[in-house]
Amino acid sequence: MQIQVKCSCGEGDCPEWAILELQGTVEAQPSFQNSLQNLQIGILCRQSQENYTFSVGYHELTGTKVKLKKPMLVLKKIKLQNEEEMGERDVNSLRVELDVIGIIRHKILFKTRPKALISKPQPAVKEKVTQPSSTVPN
């Protein structure tokens, strides 16, 4: 079986994606866990030329923008299920393509342990620092 790796973006025009990377996991409050769509994760702030902060819930992370040593491609699997084709040919003809929909060259990396912020309202999403305190009231 062969899977063609394609880029439908046009010559040299594959858009750049971004990565925000932080240690550990981010956890939403239980009431939001099944409907994360559109929910705010945190606030990204570029404080100076070099320094970024990312505030998630009560916590603030500091980080920098880094260029990846090697670029990363964002691949999307596309199933080509042409029905007449499926009828004539065997199961092997269930064709799949991989579309390069983006390229990643930079990420904003937060390597530090989160620093607690004080007196902020209860957020919908928080950084999981130690224990997932699932008992936080809404």
Binding site: M1, Q2, I3, Q4, V5, K6, C7, E11, G12, C14, P15, E16, W17, A18, I19, L20, E21, L22, Q23, G24, T25, L36, Q37, N38, L39, Q40, I41, G42, I43, L44, C45, R46, Q47, S48, Q49, Y52, F54, L68, K70, P71, M72, L73, V74, L75, K76, K77, I78, N92, V100, I101, G102, I103, I104, H106, K107, P121, Q122, P123, A124, N138
Partner: protein, 395 residues
Amino acid sequence: MDMEHRRLGSTGGAEAVLGLQPNSTMSIAYHSLFDSHNDITLLEIDEKLVPDILQQRVTIRGQPDEDAVLCTQSKTYALKFVGTSNSVFLIPPSDKAVEECNEKDDMTIPVASVIKVAPGSMELVEVAPKLDKLKFLLSQNPYSFVEASDMDISHEREKMNTGLYRWDDLADKVQASNEELRSGLQALLAVEIDGYWRVLDDKYMDMILNMLLHDVILNDWSFNALNEDEVLRALETDGFPCNIAMHCLKVYGNKVEEHIGGSCMWRLEERRVCVHFAREILKNGKMKMETFMAEWIRKVPDGMHASFDMLEGEVLTEKLGIETLVYYFSVSSLPSTPAERFNILFQERQKWEWKDLQPYVRDLRVPGLSSEAILLKYTRRTQPTVDAEPVFSAR
């Protein structure tokens, strides 16, 4: 501001994140399509491969029961998944088709949306092409004299169609880049017949070569200056199709010069012709050295000289009392992966002297590993005395 209930639109994108100016702020949110993208994966690649991929010269190859490999035009890479415990938020560029919603008047900062949290990424590790499978596939149905002379027997067709592979079938089934596949076919002396890649069976090859040598004598040609047109015409008269005759020239000869008086000239390679006859003689098993040499020299055409060192990597010898026996043991019939190769070599002989071993291992290639490193990994090297020949045994 109650962040708890604030749900944001997903109009921002990667460019806003990467282009964020000093002393600016933006919001990062889950995309409205978050979590619905299990079909997205990340692939880390060398910068030099980016053009290959963007210009669609790369494929993923493998059967369902094989680990997939990625092939560029010239190389084969294993795909290795490397997981991460970090949270890797993937932010696509903004979707320009989606206009800003007008109800977002209260939002003073831009928003970028996370489409997926990536569990890790795929990495590429260069590997050797899986050409043993190519050898196996082609060996299923070698092209024979019977098939060549039976023009059209329809009830035979079905039987003959098993084990036949077109280029695309091979690319589907063999985990190798196009270039590696092409040189693999060349190394196996495969030829394209009616759209299928075939190896010719030994008997058929023997027939054509003998016919060619017969024609050389008959027409008083020189081994070093065979006129392609004349050779093809003669062999065709003898019943060998043009493509097969051409294949014979390629297997046993080399092109000398392009177009002398409008026709290509070929030279028959002494070593290849001699090795062919040695192989034919040893087909039935071990022989006493003297008997073998006498028969070999007799079989080799006049004007060519058989010498035992031509058979490096083709035959082995063993002592039996005062006799030396010779037998066929060709490197071309051995697996190309080092572990399997050494396994068979050490089954054949527990200890190998370097001069004997070398012809059987010099073609081994492992990306990122030198020949010395391969030897070190799969053999134990002993040297009884400082000036003695090193001896290799299994690890």
